[in-house]
Amino acid sequence: MKKIEAVIQPFKLEEVKEALIAIGIDGMTVLEVRGHGRQKGHKEVYRGQEYVVDLLPKIKLEIVVPESRLDEVTETLIRAARTGKIGDGKIFVSDIGEAIRIRNGDRGETAL
């Protein structure tokens, strides 16, 4: 099993969600986060007082998938989340040791 963590633009969430549901991904966890990559921030001015806002609002999606579906899911994610501009975000993939469904104790890929 693999965990996919995708940091994306907040306004792309609906599109990404629909694309994932369309290829049969049933579960995901969505977090509102703040951060920046190479994009850095922007300047705001309040009555002459300047503030550099370098942590921008982003959406982080967490999905755990069977290894066999990894490429398909990441490609779908990239297609739906891409605008081609700086700030589109990043995808991180890591190994998952175990998954358990709390309701009935299912383990492994059947729990996904």
Binding site: E44, V45, Y46, R47, G48, Q49, Y51, V53
Partner: protein, 447 residues
């Protein structure tokens, strides 16, 4: 005709004339009562409008500008004055401001409002006048809270505003508006200063006191290196709109009648606010490259402040000019000069009210004209009426207000510091005053 007939005729004539006089007197009374009713209706409305400026107007305007951990404490500064200043006013404040005929202060004749009833003051009931003036005594100390927001102990704030009302506000209100006051232009004061609705009494006094508070308390922890962005500007925009509307009661109500003068003040007020909004916006656009909503609403308030002393004395075009000048000057003070001078007037009570009030007081001396109040003639008002001396009176009046506010505030802050302590502990300041002073939070994550 015999003697008896003649006497009867005479008697009939006399009694007819008597009846006519009675009818005339009754008619005069009816007219007076009708005028009083009309004036009273507008004045009660104005009274409510001025209260609306403090809560919710100022509470929202200031509340949106602070960080989320201090929004309740900041709104409480405005709200609690609706209670504190009112009680003080009933007990002693009104009497000290409007009783007696001394140069500097009233007397105790109206203490506890014992001898006050439904008799008329001008054409309105005395109680209406008391209530209307009370609303000014509420908002003035509330304006100062913009300077000490986010770092003053609540107990110190209560003590400070109570003492400030007694030592600064009541004397100034008496000097400018009270019978026999030193600066009262309409009661033979030796320095006739024009202040229609509170340029000196309300705005210079609160603004200068705010500056003293900001200097005395020192900067907020982390200012200016840490981000202290306004936590909710939508609240501030809403508050500014309510201030604009409430200001019609403040200025047009200061005519103390539902008169043509009230209409003139109403119009001048509106034009002053409009021009100042554009003045600030243009200045900011040129300087920073973007016209902000915060800038536009702050400009509007600056214009309302500056037009306050002039509102009952100027025609519409000077009102536009006064507003525009105030918008540009206050922008420069708040967004350029303050950064260079380095003091932390959290919400710019000085930059908007102190500076805007002074600009307005001075320009009133230039543009005041008798054409507004009494087109038929009478004495010359301001410079454009051919009375350049008025400018000197306005400067002296402003200076008196500056000095009383500054000295009074220093003394009061010292008293507060020696008794309850003015500034909160650093850990409480970091935690936020909502939690540390009031034991609550405005926005909960759980519900």
């Amino acid at each position: 005709m015999n003697r008896l007939q003649r006497m009867l005729l005479l008697f009939a004539a006399v009694s007819a004339r008597g009846q006519e006089q009675e009818r005339l007197a009754a008619l005069e009374q009816a007219v007076e009562a009708a005028q009083s009713s009309a004036d009273n209706a507008w004045m009660l409305t104005s009274t409510a409008l001025v209260l609306l400026m403090t809560g919710p107007g100022l509470a929202l305007f200031y509340g949106g500008l602070v960080r989320r951990k201090n929004v309740l404490s900041t709104m409480m500064h405005s709200f609690i004055l609706m209670a504190v200043a009112s009680v003080l006013w009933a007990v002693i404040g009104y009497s000290l401001a409007f009783g007696g005929d001394g140069w500097f202060l009233g007397d105790f004749r109206y203490a506890f409002l014992g001898s006050v009833g439904l008799e008329r003051q001008g054409s309105i009931p005395h109680l209406t006048f008391i209530a209307f003036q009370l609303m000014f005594a509420i908002i003035t100390p509330a304006l100062i809270s913009g300077a000490f927001a986010e770092r003053m102990r609540f107990s110190a704030m209560l003590l400070f505003t109570a003492l400030w009302s007694l030592i600064v506000y009541y004397p100034l209100a008496h000097m400018v508006w009270g019978p026999g006051g030193l600066l009262n232009a309409f009661a033979e004061g030796p320095i006739p200063c024009f202040d229609f609705a509170g340029g000196t009494v309300v705005h210079i006094s609160s603004g200068v006191s705010a500056l003293v508070c900001a200097l005395y308390l020192g900067k907020r922890l982390g200012y200016p290196s840490e981000t202290m962005r306004p936590h909710n500007l939508a609240l501030s925009v809403t508050g500014a709109c309510l201030l604009w509307v409430g200001w019609f009661g403040f200025n047009a109500g200061s005519a103390l009648a539902s008169s043509a003068l009230a209409a003139s003040a109403f119009v001048a007020t509106h034009f002053g606010a409009a021009a100042a909004t554009l003045g600030w916006m243009l200045a900011e656009w040129l300087k920073n490259g973007k016209p902000s909503a915060l800038g536009a609403i702050t400009g509007a308030v600056a214009g309302l402040v500056a037009i306050t002393p002039a509102s009952g004395f100027v025609r519409p075009m000077p009102a536009l000019l006064i507003g525009f000048v105030a918008g540009v000057v206050c922008f420069y003070m708040v967004a350029v000069a303050k950064q260079k001078l380095g003091y932390d007037d959290s919400l710019d009570a000085f930059g908007v009210h102190g500076v805007g009030g002074t600009v307005g007081a001075i320009l009133t001396g230039v543009f005041a004209t008798r054409a507004v109040a009494d087109p038929s003639g009478g004495r010359a008002f301001g410079w454009i009426d051919g009375n350049p001396m008025q400018l000197v009176y306005q400067l002296v009046g402003s200076l008196v207000a500056w000095v009383i506010a500054a000295l009074g505030t220093v003394v009061i802050l010292k008293i507060c510091d020696l008794t309850v302590g003015v500034r909160v502990d650093p850990e409480h300041e970091i935690q936020g005053l909502d939690l540390s002073m009031h034991g609550e939070e405005a926005y909960s994550h759980e519900s």
